[in-house]
């Protein structure tokens, strides 16, 4: 996991010069996912990262999100899994929290997320990067009107209690080093 995070660091001229159109044996989905991976690695969005889980399958990614500064989630890190459908990007990827995340719009048991852009408000121009950024901001600004975790929504207004509950469930993710 350290490796994934470090891949966010800007790489000076890490990329070889690429010539225009090579042969494209891969499908357009693979191509798009590869391009997104490139963008994620080359950009310097703070606190988010994602990478394919295994060498063999580009459709299954793992990512991390750091809690935004100035929120109760500041300094906490969450692991998520991203599963792309074969018709991506026409359909949204399936995303869930792998680390327990106490949040009004996250199911504490399954890790399921209630976020409109991951369901009916999905658009083909969204990308992993925009999703991770949206999730990051969702951490600090939950939609308490339609909670997946009603308990969390109920105590959102008292940050002290919320933080206590949050930390009760929180598990640091650094114990898995082999990924």
């Amino acid at each position: 996991m350290d490796q994934i995070t470090s891949s966010l660091a800007p790489r000076a001229s890490a990329k070889p010069s690429v010539a225009g159109a090579g042969g494209d044996p891969a499908g357009s989905v693979t191509k798009r996912l590869t391009s997104e991976l490139m963008t994620l690695m080359m950009s310097t969005s703070p606190g988010i990262s994602a990478f394919p889980k295994s060498d063999a399958n580009l459709f299954d990614w793992a990512g991390t999100i750091e809690g935004p500064a100035g929120t109760v989630y500041a300094g906490l890190k969450f692991k998520i899994s991203i599963n792309f459908p074969p018709n991506y990007p026409m359909a949204p990827p399936a995303i869930k929290f792998d680390s327990p995340c106490y949040h009004p719009n996250v199911d504490i048991n399954s890790g399921g997320i209630c976020l409109d852009i991951l369901q009916d408000k999905w658009s083909a121009v969204y990308s992993v990067q925009t999703i991770l950024l949206s999730l990051q901001s969702l951490l600090g600004e939950p939609n308490n009107a339609s909670p997946l975790n009603p308990d969390a929504a109920a105590i959102w207004d008292s940050p002290e209690d919320f933080k206590t509950q949050l930390l009760k469930y929180y598990r640091p993710i650094c114990d898995e080093s082999s990924d």
Binding site: Q3, S13, K15, P16, S17, V18, A19, G20, A21, G22, P25, A26, G27, S28, V29, T30, K31, R32, T34, S35, E36, L37, M38, T39, M42, S43, F51, P52, K53, S54, D55, A56, N57, L58, F59, D60, N83, P86, N87, P89, M90, A91, W122, S123, A124, V125, E176, S178, D179
Partner: protein
Amino acid sequence: MASMLDRLLAQDISDSTDFPDDTTTPGLRAFDDALRCSICRDFYDAPVSLNCGHTFCSACIRSALPEQPQCPTCRKPATEVHLRKNVAMESAVQAWQAARPLILRYAQEEQKRKEQPAMLPHTRHEPNPSGRAGRKRRRLDSPGPSASSDDEAIAIPSSPVPSGSSTPDISPLPDLVACPICQKDVPSSSINMHIDSGCKRYLSEGSASGAPLPDAAKSKQKQQWSRLLAGSGGSAPSKGGKGKGKGKSRATPDPLSDTDAEQHLPKVAYDIHPQKRIAEMLAAWDLPAHGDKAALARRHARWVVLYNANVDRAARQRRTLEQLRQDLRRAEDAEGRGRRVVVEDAVAYQRANKAAFARLTEAARPKKPAAAKAGSPGPDGAGSAGAEADGQTRDGRPTPVPEVIDVDEG
């Protein structure tokens, strides 16, 4: 993980971050980005615009609209009838793709120079590399070696090739267009600069003297111009060619205009047709008819998208029906491959990922040992995925855990 990275980098997928940032080469990265479809992230292929002005590849937006009838970028309601060809964008993309390798090389040289301020003195006095790039490209673009005899026209300055430049492998741009003002032939990529220079510069080498061109080439240019000027004139470019106030009015019909009149295929409501009828529709285009009804419908819908996107290409960019069939086949293959985990050397893969397997096994065991055993797909997962996985892969979503455990045990 590292090998994945290597493989990806070796795939030659270009993106705008190939270029240095704005401090080194202002605007280049944004320019490269502006010529890319925000759905597929590649350069526009048969670009089409919606009412809101947002542009996408024809195939991309035709695949996206059935899912959601709105512009993917701004969510304004949209349907396929709103799509209009964006021919200006198409020529811009073509020109940029031809110019890009060279520009990229100069951009990277520029970056290197900025990174190392202590260089040999003579390199500092070299002219601006972007200017050199422009001149060089024109030289490469010009079709013939014949020199210009026109006095007022500053044709190609015969500047020495920059030292140490291996001539890049750029295919010359074949598309010359006649300038609407001076009637001379100009590479279409430079036409705007040519007009801006008061018709004095950026002429193509071979034709500056006004030597008469063969009819076919001339009418082709006329057609190109009519297309550029007609803007969204979707279906009948031959009509746009007349009355554009050209000096000589040539009535020669362009041979390409016949094929250009191709119509988009209508969309089919597959639910109301029996499987046999859909198979007939596929057979009419010489397409395979294996699979269940859903597979047939998917294949035909994909064919309609590919076909209609092909109609949106400029006539000389169009692919043949046989090429389209290959595209369809490739797309179907790729979709199958995406679902399936291809492991070429099972033993090596197993060894390399032993730790991960062990961890996954540990993670899975206490929860549902029975399910893991029952769910394991037998010999499938142990390396023969390529041969057997065809049937199961399309709809089913094999969770990685049982499969991986299977590899671990076998």
